[in-house]
Symmetry: C2
């Protein structure tokens, strides 16, 4: 740990701020700069490194070991990751599951053509949840895998609630159906319907004069969003909404339930309870930034995913220290 | 998956049988032989491969891709792993935590001198629990790690119960203290005493004429074994003992509780509920046998631990298949 790993951030939304916070907790890392498409003079927040316009990235090629890409998966990362991997070792949290192979191919080609390396699709789902799905299926080939999400704030469903006439403000949480989770934990392997997997909970501030029963009915019967689920609607004040529902919690659980011999049930469980989704995702990105730097230094090139990276490389400790302290 | 991976087992106790069962569930593997120090003619069980005396191992050097060592950590593995890695790619479940560095050094030297590879200390603790401790500490550098074991049958404590005068037969289970686990799950970071971490439960068959109260008192006050814990003693019949308590369940949970910013608690949890401890450990050994074979084929040499091995190598699927299906 003589020389700190020099990290830069591209994109300064919730995730970028999460990465910034995580770097401060890792003593072997140093935040060199925060790059953004916005005009640096428009930033007024207190931050831990200089704000720099993205157009100046070229000048940082020799000053940055890993560039952490904090853009969105819909339009930013499909362009940014293949582009910036040409100049930097990069890490992203691309999360459009169905487009991972396409994204991997683009990053892999660009990285190999430029003697570089990019780690894609880190975070927790995809990311740590993916790791645990593969781990569970590898040690228990005969079995079923279950993923439950929540308790988590869902942006899309919160937006849907806010579009209902009579709603002034509101948030929506997705929660695992606890009875189903417990059933799987006990080694049963049920086929679960959509309704049996998750429930939805809404906290709504009514507009002046709006009718509770009408609003509740409009929400719980909304096709696709709420109709397939058991949905609870709580009416609260604007003040309570701001006080109790401004965090971005999330989490979930991956369960592998299998059998080794006829009567021996084996259950592997991995769960997350996250007080802040973007801060945790940022923390995962930073651990994989450390691994990316080490892989690059060891001569690895091309695109990598969480499946390709030994867990030991995420740790600031050496293999010797890990063997002595953690095995 | 054209050529099956040819696996052999050395040692045929509970763990060896667990490995045998696991190989049958992995279609890309083939069990070549089961080696034992016992006289093969003394084996009467139905098994899925020939029994061979350990003295004939030499003749199998070209017929076996991975030798899975199923001996004990006290006396077998410290000798066997450095010895057999000279001729075979090996995997073991060495579990004397404090002696891992010494064992690693011996296996590493023998493997490198003979152009071979050995994966040591797989299984679940050390093994999957170790992986999750390092993962948790890497993504949440500021926090505390908790390991709770159970519900699990403890051989040493069962023996202690059976030595109490008046006890005809019995078993002991270690269980996590559920209130403490729940406290950690909720993001608190308590300092837990021994009593607060685990509880002990005994199922005892009394000898004819023995007194329940006397036996209970002798158990719960036994220094070191039971006195530091809250211990419950159940008296049951020999028939119930055989019917309900002949399995070898185990498991436990590793929790990392950390903070990313002042008020944001983040909890990562990995848990196992195992109907059969040796069969699950055997399943983990077999997944790491696959990884060992692939690492060796890719040119890796020396000793490896779970920290050095990408999770993707445990899976029978290719990197392309994993990216398309699991990310």
């Amino acid at each position: 740990m003589s020389q700190p790993i020099r990290v830069a951030i591209l994109g300064y939304g919730n995730l970028g701020r999460g990465v910034e916070a995580a770097i401060q907790k890792n003593k072997d890392m140093e935040l060199v700069a925060i790059f953004s498409r916005r005009d640096p003079s428009s930033f007024t927040q207190q931050v831990s490194a200089p704000f720099v316009h993205v157009s100046e990235l070229d000048a940082y090629q020799d000053k940055v070991d890993v560039l952490v890409l904090c853009g969105g998966s819909a339009t930013d990362l499909p362009e940014q990751t293949p582009q910036y991997v040409q100049q930097f070792v990069v890490v992203d949290s691309f999360d459009t599951h169905a487009k991972v192979p396409e994204h991997f191919a683009a990053v892999d080609a660009a990285a190999k053509a430029n003697n570089s390396l990019g780690v894609i699709a880190t975070g927790w789902d995809p990311g740590l949840f993916s790791l645990n799905r593969v781990l569970g299926e590898s040690v228990l080939p005969q079995g079923d895998t279950y993923t439950f999400w929540g308790k988590g704030l869902s942006q899309g469903h919160s937006d849907a609630v806010r579009r209902v006439p009579g709603v002034a403000a509101g948030v929506q949480y997705t929660l695992p159906n606890e009875a189903s989770v417990e059933q799987v934990r006990q080694g049963e392997r049920p086929e679960l319907s959509t309704r049996e997997k998750h429930v939805r909970e809404c906290y709504v501030v009514l507009e002046e004069g709006a009718d509770e029963a009408t609003v509740r009915e409009a929400i719980v019967t909304m096709p696709h969003y709420f109709e397939p689920f058991d949905t609870t609607v709580h009416f609260i004040s604007q003040e309570e909404l701001e006080r109790e529902h401004s965090a971005m919690p999330h989490g979930g659980v991956v369960l592998r339930s299998g059998e080794t011999e006829e009567n021996n049930k084996q259950v592997v469980e991995f769960g997350l309870r996250l007080g802040s989704n973007p801060e945790f995702t940022g923390s995962v990105l930073v651990a994989y930034a450390r691994a990316a730097h080490r892989l690059f230094q060891a001569g690895e090139r091309g695109a990598k995913t969480v499946f390709d990276i030994p867990i030991g490389l995420l740790s600031p400790y050496s293999p010797e220290e890990l063997r002595a302290g953690q095995l």
